[in-house]
């Protein structure tokens, strides 16, 4: 019953209700964290047990919200598919939205396949309001909320989950999930294509957990959609500064935002720089170029000859080029190592400066090759076998 694939769920649900569920599981993204679709589990039926299937009409919907997963029961009646559903809001026993605030419930139209999804979105909105109400228990956190609300950058893209960890005795805690207004649109597409998952919307979410009402224990965490995370260099991109004690969100969040923006900028810049670099090498080495990465401009291979000694040079451009130096790998075309590989030597330190432009780098590289090759040749002859 758990981790049911959407197709299975669609197969088991009563035919009349299938369109409604379809839009939920296929297209359903609510809230800020839209990397995960809404999940459906625990499909059950409200008909008598002898009714032939498929006749399921009630299920549990998993909705990601503010770092939590809400598990709401949605109850239809297969025999009366035109009727609107009923909801059980799981552990949030006190959440009772005003029906008048749910237009898609009041004017439920079973023929509209989007109706359920829209209704769920409206409910989430109401839930958000409900959570914000609960923030009233802590004036400190309420202040945080209000201050963020005023800022148009963040106010509209906020999800709050507040309450007691343990219903009666637990410490009051709250989690703020904020969507960072960082522009990822200029990130080169190649960077985003490497992910195996459906990338979805590129989003950066900052989750700040307040473990107590006085904001003495604050744990921020950055979430990036997988493509962005990959584009920015993997999990290292998730490092953010710690929350300053006594600080507040309205100061901290822009900080993080800026950091992320800088990173993105850097990545974008890096891409362009790499492109420039490769272009320069192409023009300098011309026919010596064996191959190069024409999309991401991360690799370049040259076949050069010096005094009848042919060798390959592989250039690996790091992500944060030009800050980070490219790696040069010299490879002999004649000699093998004991393990059957071509004899090679890696050079990471050589004269280099990030301030040079592409042309300059190409020229300097050429000069370096000339100076290094005798060494390499000797090494190849000495250590490699033909």
């Amino acid at each position: 019953m758990n981790n049911m694939s959407p197709e299975v769920a669609l197969h088991r649900i009563s035919p009349e209700l299938r369109p409604l569920l379809c839009s939920v599981v296929r297209n359903g993204r609510v809230g800020l964290d839209s990397t995960n679709c809404l999940r459906v589990t625990d499909l059950k039926t409200g008909c008598t047990s002898l009714t032939p299937g498929p006749c399921c009409d009630r299920f549990k919907l998993h909705i990601p919200y503010a770092g939590e997963t809400l598990k709401w029961d949605i109850i239809f009646n297969a025999r009366y598919p035109e009727l609107p559903p009923d909801f059980i809001f799981g552990e949030d026993a006190e959440f009772l939205p005003e029906p008048s605030e749910l237009p898609h419930l009041v004017q439920w139209d079973a023929g509209n396949s989007e109706c359920l999804l829209q209704l769920v979105k409206e409910l989430i909105q109401q839930y958000h309001h409900y959570q914000c109400q609960r923030l009233r228990e802590s004036s400190r956190l309420l202040f945080e909320y209000d201050s963020l609300l005023e800022d148009p950058n963040y106010g509209r893209n906020m999800e709050i989950y507040a309450g007691r960890k343990n219903s009666w005795t637990g410490e009051f805690s709250a989690r703020f999930l904020l969507k960072l207004p960082v522009d990822f649109s200029n990130i080169p597409i190649y960077l985003l294509k490497d992910t195996t998952l459906d990338p979805g919307e590129d989003v950066a979410l900052l989750s700040v957990s307040f473990e107590d009402a006085e904001a003495t224990q604050v744990f921020p965490k950055l979430y990036l959609s997988p493509s962005i995370e990959h584009a920015l260099g993997g999990s290292s991109a998730l490092h953010i500064p710690a929350f300053p004690s006594g600080g507040c969100l309205i100061d901290y969040v822009p900080q993080v935002c800026q950091l992320l923006t800088n990173k993105v900028q850097y990545v974008i810049q890096g891409y362009h720089k790499r492109r420039e670099y490769i272009a320069a090498f192409l023009s300098h080495f011309g026919t010596g170029v064996v191959e190069y990465d024409a999309e991401g401009f991360t690799k370049l291979t040259l076949l050069l000859m010096w005094k009848d000694f042919c060798f390959l040079v592989h250039v690996d451009l790091p992500l944060y080029f030009p800050r980070d130096q490219p790696t040069l790998t010299f490879q002999s075309v004649y000699h093998f190592t004991n393990s059957g590989q071509l004899y090679s030597q890696v050079q990471k330190t050589y004269p280099y400066s990030p301030r040079w432009d592409g042309n300059e780098m190409a020229k300097r590289a050429k000069a370096y090759f000339k100076s290094f090759i005798p060494q390499f040749q000797e090494g190849a002859f000495a250590n490699g076998k033909l």
């Binding site: 059950k44 409200g46 008909c47 008598t48 059980i88 809001f89 029906p99 419930l105 009041v106």
Partner: protein
């Protein structure tokens, strides 16, 4: 708060629910009452406990969903009235049945519940949630039910008890207090009720029994009165007996003194007269007295056929009439024992000393115990020796103090009987001799009494 639902109502709700192909809902009818329990224990004076008891008598299923509310969950009062009609005032809650869902109130149910609370004016409206859970292979089905009172903030769930269902160790079959609203039942009872009930609505049998009970009570009261009276009479007679005994003792003492004086006089008169002279006279006296012992052939009054008591009485009468000086103590009436046929009260018995030895008969066989205290006598009833006689005379009080507990009238009266008969048969002897005339009197059951009993 406690809640109960009758078994048939519960099964009816289950039936309607289980046979519906979708969710099902309806209203619960019944009443709510408050029970106050006052408990008194050693540790505290009293503590009162208030318990609200909800009883579900009936249910009113709704034909379809959304019959009295709309999509937004707004309750339509007109529809509500058309469903409930005149049962509206009996509504104490509502119920819902849904399969395979959690035991928790849903969003719409809460919305509706709030409105129903207001519309029906029941502050503590209850909500009964039925949930039917089936296993995946339909091998096991569970019907779960939870009773909520959602208008309270805490303790929202109440246990619902179904009388006579569940605990089979209980022997008694509980009767619920659900009122019988059946029209047919009322009609039949009205028709045939007159045979069993009187005009006040009380069962006739009860009245009859009560009458018997009252009659018995009256009789018991009357008997009490009689017992009281007879007890008083008995007391009086007892007093008389005591008085007479005292007089007897007094007389004995006097006669003993006289005798002593006589003896002393005799002794001083004739020194030579041996003591034995007096002895025979004494012994002869004694022998006369000891008529029970076989060695007392001189018992004057022994006869093979003791006369009946009635003869004695008549003889007494004649004797009394002949006697010259009845003492005051002789003029005591003879009382009757309770429950016994009456005896004619004889004339006052002669308290003359001549009567003393007249009852030398064993009248133990007589079954008419009558206390006749009139005859003075000396000596104990069993014909013991003069020692005992002296003892008797001297230590009368002691003997009387040593009376046994089972002293009863019978023995006394038998002694007195003997006394009476003695007076008839013994010849009138000299007063001095007759002073010791109390013969050995057998108690009715033949026991020889060691002392004169009272």
């Amino acid at each position: 708060m406690a809640a109960s639902i009758s078994g048939y109502t519960f099964s009816s709700v289950c039936y309607h629910s289980a046979n519906s192909n979708s969710d099902h809902e309806g209203f619960l009818l019944g009443d709510v009452r408050q029970e106050e329990t006052v408990s008194i224990s050693d540790t505290q004076i009293s503590s009162a406990e208030l318990l609200q008891v909800v009883e579900i008598h009936n249910h009113d299923p709704c034909a379809q969903l959304f019959s009295f509310y709309d999509y937004a969950g707004k309750v339509n009062e007109e529809n509500l009235n058309s469903i409930l009609k005149d049962r509206r005032k009996n509504v104490i809650g509502w119920y819902r049945f849904r399969r395979n869902t959690q035991q928790q109130m849903s969003f719409r149910e809460q919305v509706i519940h709030k409105q129903l609370t207001q519309l029906l004016g029941v502050p503590d409206l209850i909500f009964l949630l039925f949930s039917f859970i089936s296993t995946a292979n339909s091998s096991t089905h569970a019907l779960e039910y939870v009773l909520f009172r959602p208008n309270r903030r805490y303790n929202q769930r109440i246990t619902l008890s179904i009388p006579n269902l569940g605990n089979t160790s209980q022997q008694e079959y509980k009767v619920s207090s659900v009122p019988n609203t059946s029209v047919n039942y009322a009609k039949v009872i009205k028709e045939h009720g007159a045979e069993f009930f009187d005009k006040d609505g009380v069962m006739k049998d009860i009245r009859t029994i009560y009458q018997v009970y009252s009659a018995l009570q009256d009789k018991v009261q009357a008997v009490c009165g009689e017992v009281e009276q007879s007890e008083r009479v008995k007391e009086k007679i007892q007093e008389d007996v005591n008085k007479l005994k005292q007089q007897i003792a007094l007389r004995k003492r006097k006669t003993a003194e006289e005798e002593r004086r006589l003896r002393e006089a005799q002794n001083t008169d004739s020194h030579s007269t041996p003591e034995e002279n007096t002895e025979p006279s004494e012994s002869s006296l004694l022998s006369r007295i000891a008529f029970h012992s076989p060695s007392a052939p001189q018992r004057p009054s022994t006869s093979p056929n003791p006369p009946s008591y009635a003869d004695l009485l008549s003889q007494d009468d004649s004797l009394l009439s002949s006697s010259s000086s009845p003492t005051s103590a002789a003029l005591l009436p003879r009382p009757q024992a309770v429950g016994s046929p009456g005896h004619p009260t004889p004339g006052p018995l002669g308290m003359d000393l001549g009567l003393g030895l007249g009852l030398g008969l064993s009248l133990g066989a007589s079954s008419n115990p009558v206390s006749t205290p009139s005859t003075p006598y000396l000596g104990n009833g069993d014909g013991s020796s003069s020692d005992s006689l002296d003892r008797q005379a001297a230590g009368q009080e002691d003997d009387e103090d040593d009376d046994e507990d089972d002293d009863d009238e019978d023995e006394d009266s038998s002694e007195y009987e003997n006394l009476v008969s003695e007076t008839t048969h013994l010849p009138v002897v000299s007063g001095s001799v007759l002073a010791q005339g109390r013969p050995a009197a057998l108690s009715p059951d033949g026991d020889a009494r060691g002392s004169q009993t009272t």
